[in-house]
């Protein structure tokens, strides 16, 4: 009988199930990064002058910045000049009006992922803005949303059609100077999603975007902006997988959320970028800046993320709690396997009185991976009566993986309450044997234990997404799950 550690390795050493590559003609610019590149992107997208200026300003600042090196990850230097900054499927020029006009190969890709657009279209309550590489290819449910006054479109469209909203909110949560990758994104972003929920409106369906990187050596710089006006509510789902490839890919997205008075934004992510092979070759570098601004009183922003992919993840969805009694939440499952590295967590910045935040982080490390939680809870002097609760659990599979926890707490108001709980455990032989002796196969047993460990986070996900998340976790751990 093999030892448990070996068996677990067998289970986790699976090939990336979503790994396949679709050949589609790409309209790709040559690699390189300078002001000409930025002018070219802006021109290709037919952007107004103010947008180009904003990009150039960001680029000027970017050139004075340095790549951060404080994260618990290591990778060879990234040559930004070797990346192509614009790539769009050829169908870009005349956007398909229905599924029939969509490149069948693209549809095939989605079907392999088990998320056929055809089916999603019928899935009540879910609108899909599918981002294939850099340009939105397909958007559904626009009419129904328009009826409610909800704007849900690609970022490029929003620049054309809602310039006043873009000018007002773009960069107001994540300034161009925020960090190296955010500055880079601001200069070269190609597309993304834009959402505006009008006052006192409950978005009639969950908004969903599926991302997919599909061009060799093409950096992906998504820009997402979600604005929930006073008294509104929206649940936004973001999910992605990527085809197998051998080149490292930089992914530096920026997501900005704005919640005005009494508004609530629920932002859920299932992330499954290609993690690289067992030797750590290939895989996505995921350097993301996500931040939500609880600008109004009693506003609420909730981040839920399930991270199973990427070679390197550098990601801290954060909340700035400005409004009185505003609420920030962060629920996270981060699974790393093989040679994956994740440095992820959150920042909760309490500025307003009576602000509250909850952090529940579950890290699972398998193979030879490195999994770090990094969290900051900052209570400003004015945050009278602020409260934070942090729970941070790590689960180790096998004996070659590592979990790290870096909690930072800065409290400048004596009336605040800050709690931090942390635990680290291994899947025990006892648990495995118990389940197996009941007739449950080893793979299913491991999967069951891991899913149980993540339950507190999964229950925060919308129903369909929770199923998707469990499936991804299963795929990442064992290849296939029924």
């Amino acid at each position: 009988m093999a030892s448990n550690a070996q068996d677990i390795e067998k289970i986790v050493d699976r090939q990336y199930a979503a790994g396949f590559f679709t050949e589609i003609d790409q309209d790709t610019v040559p690699p390189g990064l300078d002001t000409d590149t930025i002018r070219l992107i802006s021109a290709k997208k037919n952007e107004p002058e103010w947008m180009l200026e904003w990009r150039l300003k960001a680029f000027a600042r970017f050139q004075q910045m340095r790549e951060p090196n404080w994260a618990h990850v290591s990778y060879p230097p990234i040559d930004l000049q070797a990346i192509s900054y614009y790539s769009a499927p050829k169908s870009d020029k005349d956007r398909p009006q229905s599924l029939d006009e969509v490149d069948p190969k693209l549809l095939e890709t989605y079907e392999k992922l088990g998320i056929p657009l055809e089916e999603q279209k019928m899935l009540a309550g879910v609108a899909v803005d599918a981002v294939f590489d850099s340009v939105s290819v397909h958007t559904t449910f626009r009419d129904k949303l328009a009826e409610a006054g909800v704007i849900f479109c690609s970022f490029s469209e929003a620049v054309q059609e809602h310039p006043e909203l873009i000018q007002k909110y773009l960069g107001s949560v994540v300034p161009v100077t925020d960090n190296y990758y955010a500055a880079l994104n601001s200069a070269v972003f190609t597309d993304g999603s834009f959402v505006y929920i009008p006052k006192n409106t409950r978005c009639p369906m969950e908004l969903s975007t599926y991302f997919r990187i599909n061009a060799m050596n093409t950096g992906q710089f998504e820009r997402t902006l979600v604005i929930a006006d006073e008294g509104s509510y929206v649940s936004y789902l973001e999910g992605c997988t990527a085809p197998m490839r051998d080149e490292n890919q930089l992914h530096a997205a920026v997501v900005e959320l704005v919640a005005l008075q009494d508004a609530e934004i629920k932002y859920s992510t299932v992330q499954n970028w290609y993690p690289g092979d067992e030797e750590g070759r290939g895989g996505i570098y995921n350097f993301v800046t996500k931040r939500g601004d609880c600008r109004g009183a009693r506003s609420k922003i909730s981040w839920t993320q399930v991270e199973t992919g990427s070679a390197i993840t550098w990601k801290y969805p954060s909340c700035v709690l400005k409004g009185e009694d505003s609420v920030g939440e962060f629920y996270s499952v981060a699974l790393t396997n093989n040679l994956q590295q994740a440095d992820t967590g959150t920042k909760m910045v309490h500025l307003g009185r009576g602000t509250r935040s909850t952090i529940v982080s579950k890290g699972i490390s398998a193979g030879r991976s490195q999994n770090a939680y990094r969290g900051l809870v900052r209570i400003a002097p004015g945050a009278e009566g602020a409260r934070n609760y942090t729970q941070c659990d790590s689960l180790l599979l096998g004996d070659r993986s590592a979990a790290h926890t870096f909690p930072y707490i800065e409290c400048r108001n004596p009336s605040a309450q800050v709690e931090h709980e942390a635990s680290t455990s291994k899947i025990s032989d006892d648990q495995l044997f118990y389940l197996r002796s009941r007739g449950i196969g080893q793979e299913d047993a491991v999967n069951m234990i891991v899913n149980g460990f993540c339950k507190e986070v999964f229950k925060e996900l919308p129903m369909e997404f929770a199923v998707e998340a469990q499936k991804l976790l299963g795929i990442s751990l064992e290849g296939a799950v029924g």
């Binding site: 025990s428 044997f433 118990y434 009941r438 339950k455």
Partner: protein, 249 residues
């Protein structure tokens, strides 16, 4: 049904079982008694397929299959069930959900169709009553926050749903007060029939007042040193183990 021949097993190079011979026929209940450290729990674990033990000699066949070569879940599929001395807590995993996966795992092994959710629920409702398990425990995480008695009852409940051909009860009486003990024993007795066999591992005779065995075996230093009928248990109760262990030495 079960035939153990000259079974030797060790843990970390230390011999624990030194030649066990035992035959269990359908419908029989065998009690394995013995002092601490005699190898009782090791025998249960080796039969159920727990890792960490090395079988150095001998064999165990179960309905003609080489039991010791099967994975634990395959043994469950063949109809072996181990009621744990210390049932394991599995945070976040719903008790009934786990049991459904277990039952369907066993059915899949046997080439049977999965039980529908409705049929499964019916079965669960019937069995939970029969063993007197608090229904609210069904949807709690497996064994988490259960009292000692509840954990053991949960084991018997699982057994009643999985309907094994051979159930091994590993010190099921440990840590139970007399009422809990009776309840657990009743649950076990309800499952006894002409086909199903039991191996009841216990330190004390007390449990055997309620689960009356057909045979009693005394284990000492990894060997069965005496076998007899149920009256042997009473003799042990009266005289302790010393007279036997010194006799054997």
């Amino acid at each position: 049904m079960l035939e153990i021949k000259n079974l030797h097993a060790e843990i970390d190079g230390k011999p624990i079982l030194r030649g066990i011979d035992l035959v269990v026929r359908p419908g029989e209940t065998h009690a394995i008694m013995g002092p601490n450290g005699s190898g009782k729990s090791t025998l249960s674990h080796v039969l159920a397929g727990r890792e960490g033990y090395t079988v150095t000699d001998g064999s165990a066949t179960f309905n003609g299959k080489p039991l010791l070569e099967l994975e634990p879940e395959e043994r469950a599929g063949e109809g072996v069930f181990l009621a744990f001395q210390y049932p394991v807590e599995i945070p976040g995993v719903n008790n009934v959900y786990m049991l459904k996966a277990a039952l369907n795992g066993i059915r899949a092994y046997r080439g049977e169709k999965e039980l529908s959710a409705v049929d499964f629920l019916k079965l669960v409702k019937a069995r939970v009553k029969a063993v007197g398990l608090d229904e609210s425990l069904l949807n709690r995480p497996v064994n988490e926050g259960f009292s000692g008695g509840e954990k053991k009852r949960n084991e018997v409940f699982q057994m009643s749903v999985l309907e094994p051909r051979l159930a091994i009860l590993d010190e099921t009486d440990s840590g139970l007060d007399i009422d809990a003990l009776k309840a657990v024993a009743e649950g076990v007795n309800a499952l006894r029939d002409e086909e199903r066999s039991f191996i009841v591992v216990t330190h004390y005779q007390r449990l055997l007042d309620y689960i009356v065995p057909d045979y009693v075996h005394v284990l000492s230093k990894g060997r069965i040193i005496k076998s007899g009928g149920k009256e042997l248990a009473h003799e042990l109760e009266a005289r302790g183990y010393d007279w036997l262990t010194s006799e054997a030495a």
